[in-house]
């Protein structure tokens, strides 16, 4: 288009006469397309906003809890010997150092409701944090602060749980139920805002006693002098502190959380991108239809002197306008959708990764603009091809019927070739490894797969049409013949709709197969590896982040209970495992060898366990082996409070309980290396014929009256593992649905346009005696055929998709080996959904066709 002013004016009036008029003349398509884009963008926005909120909640909580601290010393789960504190305080440049113990407790009356307990020296908190008491009532006295059951909860928490000052709160902390007395309510300010108010403050003396952590700190916060750089102070501290302690800026922890969640977030983002992609197919489709319908108009405009470029710009602008409008709505809808997804996602993150509490959706302007931009730019991209096609329409062509379609048919060879190339690329892209831990090539392979399969639609449509035509030749199936005829003659407009629906089906099939295979794999793993008859753990462990433990005396007494054959105490601690966070765990290898079982990559469970015990070796999870390139015989190294340890790897076992990698050693070795006592949980193996109920009673009696231990049967634990699994994939399932809805809108658009453009045909059919019902069947037949083709291609693409997800993306992101399991149920389910959806999409256009005014339809040349 020209750049002169007059040309701009001219362009505007053309736009006004075409695009804006389109809004008025084709409101249904505009509505459907905009809705489709809105849904796709909404899915994307919702996922991104949820991701952002989860992360923001973490970093905000870290910031709020860190307060004015400029550095912090952490010691992982082993903690810090508090006797180091005076030396830390005396380091030049440290102006204040605050001791902190913290744990996550579970509210006794509401198991699963978590509360972060922060034990601080209330007399030394001033340089770090400010706690403001709500209300103007009498300030707490010294007794209120220092009594061992004193706790301060936030007003938010108090309101949510019907608590007040002076009341009591029973929490599951450590192995016990503990009753605290609420000495004051914290106004929502500073740390009291963290985790949406699910945080409580105790004096450190009470906290150490309550958490069973006498003599140990979880963290030391430091305020440093401005004149000295924190790095300088870190160096000074490093000389003083044992190696297992880390000194870092508090915001580093935020970055660690981000790293930990990256694979999880990337996965969700990729899925939401598919939903976005489906909706962009919709734009392509809508613009193509618009071009088709306005061939005549284009011809007239061209003969009146509109340039090719202007025609292309016109349609590109139309697509972009649709995209932007949809994106605008989608961003708003996405925020609403995000709010409802948030609970599920935050729950999953809480169960799988770290304690999290987030109730408000966070979406910065960057995110919103990205979503808008992606929608708009995507729509522009999607309309380029049809806009180009429009610009190629010569003034004389426009008057000819079907010229557009014939171009498509001519091009279908080339498209097919591109499709084959894309599929080849998709295959090759599954070969390279991850980039910085992320399966980027895997995602690229997914994209190639989808576009590649999409390229098959025009050819397949033609083949199907011709095929059905040949099959029905002369048979009494005039309606099917008609429907098939339309398919093969309207490849151009139908192909993209089929591609959109195919993408949705592929997503449905791919995810269902992947999740199904994954679940089956986990089920098998659970079945084979969870052998204990009873699993005892502190009830507080029900919330993530709880570090409650069972005491040594409990474990010893439990082992002596009549009917118990063996106990296997398990401890797991987060440590740095060769660059990334992972789990360092211990169990009694002899007991596991005798009673339990792990699935090893090589070797039989009992033999490997016994060898590991004899050789002071460790066994590591498959994910660790994969991500760090370790194998049997290599050495793995990590830092314990006693120093850096390097141990040989005796076995590599399959494990689906964590994505960060796991190192397990025998309890004897653990104790020798100075590991913690107690246990996070104890697996109990019963003697044959033992009375489980009696053993349970005995265990509860040993634990004591105020104990809060949970006894899980073998079956209950297995069920719990699968429950966690199912929750983790709830969001993915929601996205499947969203993609299907957008796909349906695509089919609707095609059929609607088809009805509009074939008014004369429909009129003819009616005038030669087709009843309304017959007409409806023709249109539904078309819809059904489109749905069937989408299902067919989607099924194939979906199987490939699930293979990429399983063997490339999951493997590279999480390091899990999943056994692919095909399920015929997927075929049934997706067929029902695809066909049902397509017929649903065809219903309104069919009704519209039946209502047609026959004389008007047949009167003129169409």
């Amino acid at each position: 288009m020209g750049g002169s002013k007059s040309s701009n004016v001219h362009t505007w009036s053309v736009i006004r006469l075409t695009i804006l008029r389109q809004l008025r003349t084709n409101p249904v398509r505009v509505l459907v397309t905009v809705t489709g884009v809105a849904i796709g963008v909404a899915a994307f926005t919702a996922i991104q906003a949820t991701n952002e909120s989860v992360l923001h909640s973490f970093t905000q909580a870290i910031d709020l809890v860190a307060g004015r601290a400029t550095l912090e010393i952490t010691g992982g789960e082993a903690g810090i010997d508090e006797r180091l504190l005076p030396a830390v305080q005396q380091i030049d440049g440290v102006s204040a150092a605050a001791p902190i113990v913290q744990t996550v407790a579970s509210v006794a009356e509401q198991p699963g409701e978590a509360l972060l307990l922060l034990g601080v020296d209330l007399f030394a908190e001033n340089p770090f944090r400010e706690y403001r008491l709500a209300g103007s009532d009498r300030p707490p006295g010294i007794e209120d602060l220092l009594s061992l059951d004193a706790i301060f909860v936030t007003t938010t928490f108090a309101e949510a749980h019907g608590l007040r000052k002076g009341g009591h709160l029973t929490l599951l902390v450590g192995m016990r139920r503990q009753r605290f007395s609420i000495k004051g309510l914290l106004a929502p300010q500073g740390p009291a805002r963290a985790f949406d108010g699910n945080i409580a403050i105790l004096d450190i003396a009470a906290a150490q006693a309550a958490f069973g952590r006498i003599g140990r700190l979880d963290r030391i916060d430091l305020v440093t002098r401005e004149q000295v750089s924190p790095d300088e102070i870190r160096t000074r501290l490093a000389k003083l502190l044992p190696p297992h302690l880390t000194v870092q800026r508090p915001d580093r922890r935020g970055r660690q959380v981000e790293k930990m969640l990256r694979a999880f977030r990337l996965n969700l983002t990729a899925l939401s991108a598919i939903a976005l992609l489906v909706s962009l197919f919709l734009v392509y489709n809508a613009v193509s239809l618009s071009v088709l319908e306005r061939r005549r108009q284009i011809g007239i405009l061209r003969s009146l002197g509109l340039t090719r470029g202007a025609v292309a710009a016109l349609f590109a602008a139309e697509g972009t306008a649709l995209g932007l409008l949809g994106s605008l709505l989608g961003v708003g809808g996405g925020l609403l959708l995000g709010r409802s997804l948030l609970r599920g996602v935050s729950q999953t993150v809480s169960t799988l990764y770290a304690y999290l509490r987030v109730d408000a959706i966070q979406a910065g302007p960057v995110l919103l603009l990205t979503a808008l931009g992606l929608g708009g730019a995507g729509a522009l991209l999607a309309s380029i091809a049809p806009a180009y096609a429009a610009s190629r329409i010569a003034p004389k062509d426009a008057m000819q019927i079907g010229s557009f379609e014939r171009t498509w048919i001519r091009r279908s060879h080339r498209i097919l070739l591109v499709g084959l190339l894309l599929l080849a690329a998709a295959f090759l892209l599954t070969r390279p490894g991850p980039v910085g831990g992320a399966p980027l090539f895997g995602y690229l392979s997914l994209a190639c797969l989808i576009f590649g399969v999409a390229c098959f639609t025009p050819r397949l449509l033609r083949l199907t049409g011709t095929g059905i035509h040949l099959l029905c030749r002369g048979r009494r199936a005039p309606l099917l013949t008609l429907a098939a005829g339309t398919l093969s003659s309207q490849v151009g407009r139908s192909a993209v709709a089929v591609a959109a629906m195919m993408t949705a089906v592929a997503m449905l099939v791919g995810l269902t197969l992947m999740i199904g295979s994954f679940r089956r794999t986990v089920e098998l793993w659970v079945e084979q590896t969870i052998r204990a008859d009873l699993i005892v753990s502190p009830a507080a462990r029900f919330v993530k982040g709880s570090d409650a433990t069972l005491s040594d005396s409990f474990i010893e007494s439990a082992a002596r209970v009549p009917g118990i054959a063996a106990v296997d105490p398990f401890i797991g601690q987060r440590v740095e495992l060769m660059g990334h966070e992972g789990l360092l765990a211990t169990g009694d290898f002899e007991v596991v060898a005798h009673y339990g079982r792990l699935l090893f990559r090589q070797g039989e469970s009992a033999a490997v366990m016994r060898r590991a015990k004899a050789e002071d070796g460790v066994i590591i999870s498959e994910s660790l082996a994969l991500s760090r390139g370790l194998t049997e015989g290599d050495r793995v190294s990590f830092v314990l409070p006693s120093g850096r340890i390097e141990l040989p790897i005796t076995g590599v076992f399959y494990d689906y309980s964590t994505d960060g990698g796991k190192v397990v050693m025998d309890r004897k070795l653990w104790t020798r290396l100075g590991g913690d006592h107690g246990a996070d949980m104890v697996a109990i193996y019963l003697q044959p014929g033992a009375d489980e109920a009696a053993v349970r009673r005995q265990l509860l009696a040993i634990a004591g009256t105020d104990s809060a231990i949970a006894l899980n049967s073998n079956r209950a634990l297995k069920a719990r593992v699968l429950e966690i699994f199912d929750n983790a994939f709830a969001v993915a399932r929601a996205l499947e649905l969203i993609a299907i809805v957008v796909g349906v809108l695509g089919i609707f658009n095609v059929l609607w346009a088809s009805v509009l453009s074939r008014q004369r045909e429909i009129g003819i059919l009616r005038s030669v005696g087709a009843t309304k019902a017959q007409l409806v069947r023709v249109i539904l037949g078309e819809a059904g055929l489109l749905g069937l083709l989408a299902e067919l291609l989607g099924l194939l693409a979906g199987i490939a998709l699930s293979l990429i997800l399983i063997h490339v993306i999951n493997k590279q992101s999480f390091g899990w080996t999943i056994q692919f399991q095909f399920s015929w149920w997927v075929v049934v389910k997706s067929s029902i959904i695809a066909l049902g959806a397509a017929l649903l999409a065809g219903y309104l256009p069919a009704r519209q066709a039946a209502r047609l005014n026959i004389p008007a339809a047949v009167a003129y040349e169409g």
Binding site: E125, D144, I214
Partner: protein, 365 residues
């Protein structure tokens, strides 16, 4: 209001009748002081403090006042239960440190507080050593050593008492309110030769001068009807010292348990009951920070000794406004003395402490 601060306030003011009182020993008549043992801590009493104030000057005549105080407040043992935590509180430790630059009329002060865990603060019972973080006071029978530093200011002083301890009150007891045990054991070292280094705004100065030391242990200070007090330590040029304190009741009149001591040049101590002296505020200064209206010029009369003194603040603003932390806001500063003894002109130096003038101990709205 922060939690810790509120608690401290309550602690300091819990005074008479506070819970846990029974767990502590009371100051009863007949107490016999033994030195240097009594310089050390007395944890069986609820409240105890060591107080130093002094007047320092350099060779070239720059003059400074300083104050360094260590508080120890015992906490009811019932609160800590049988907790084995090192953080379980036995005593809370507070400390104030202030420097008055008389030439610049600049007053700087700092405070510390600590629960004493991991020896971050403490006071020994078997030797004289009390500390709070890097601030410390201690000594043997002959000299005391003070160190304190904060933000470019510091003292490192060696003190040599030139007079024996002056024991205040009657029969070893300084009564603070009506009733047995509402009292403290209280002595002063009224004349201590001082030398060492002073760092002012990063500048190290060699200084000499004189110091006054108080050490008191017993119950909290104020009864329910008592609003605050005015306390004077005066070193007269003739070699005599005067300590006076007046407890002000809520109705504005002096409490009958106000009293003082006159320490003669030879070290003998004369107890001065309330009716033996009079204190008359003569000029006021209102603190822009706290709003407190402090008398900064007083007339002191001790008719029996024919003393008539005018006490004038070296400069008005020597207020410690600690509402942001301990909430105890008071005026404590260097004062100059002039007047007559036996109708002969006399001068001297002193320290004046005034509490309960600034929005006394109420939670801000």
């Amino acid at each position: 209001m922060t939690i810790g601060a509120t608690a401290l306030l309550c602690l300091l003011l819990s005074g008479l009748g506070a819970s846990g009182e029974a767990a502590f020993r009371q100051a009863l008549p007949g107490y016999r002081f033994v030195f240097p043992r009594d310089h050390a801590s007395h944890p069986d009493f609820k409240t105890e403090w060591w107080y130093y104030s002094g007047h320092l000057h350099t060779n070239d005549g720059q003059r400074f006042g300083y104050q360094l105080t260590f508080f120890r407040v015992g906490v009811d043992p019932a609160l800590r239960g049988d907790s084995r935590s090192r953080w379980a509180v036995r005593d809370l430790y507070l400390a104030h440190f202030a420097i008055s630059d008389l030439a610049d009329r600049r007053f700087q002060y700092w405070e510390r507080r600590s629960r004493g865990a991991l020896d971050s603060a403490g006071a020994l019972t078997d030797a004289f050593k009390v500390w709070n973080g890097p601030w410390a006071a201690g000594g043997d029978g002959k000299t005391h050593h003070l160190t304190a530093s904060a933000e470019g200011y510091a003292i490192d002083l060696t003190l040599t008492p030139t007079k024996p301890p002056a024991i205040h009150g009657v029969n070893g007891v300084s009564q603070k309110a009506a009733g047995l045990g509402h009292a403290s054991h209280y002595y002063s070292l009224t004349k201590i030769a001082t030398e060492g280094t002073l760092i002012v705004a990063g500048k190290r100065l060699a200084v000499t001068g004189s110091t006054w030391m108080d050490h008191e242990f017993g119950v909290g200070q104020l009864g329910e009807s008592q609003a605050g007090w005015d306390w004077f330590s005066i070193q007269l040029d003739g070699g005599a010292e005067l300590m006076l304190y007046q407890i002000r009741r809520a109705d504005g009149r002096p409490d009958p348990y106000s009293s003082g001591s006159l320490i003669r040049p030879d070290g003998r101590v004369e107890h001065l009951p309330l009716n033996a002296f009079s204190l008359t505020p003569q000029e006021f200064w209102q603190s822009p920070k706290s709003g407190g209206r402090y008398p900064i010029r007083w007339r002191i009369q001790v008719p029996s000794r024919r003393l008539d003194l005018s006490v004038r603040a070296a400069f008005p603003d020597q207020e410690l406004d600690t509402r942001g932390s301990t909430l105890v806001t008071y005026w404590e500063g260097s004062v100059a003395i002039s007047g007559t003894a036996d109708n002969r002109p006399i001068t001297g130096v002193g320290y004046l402490e005034m509490t309960g003038y600034a929005a006394p101990f109420r939670q801000p709205l």
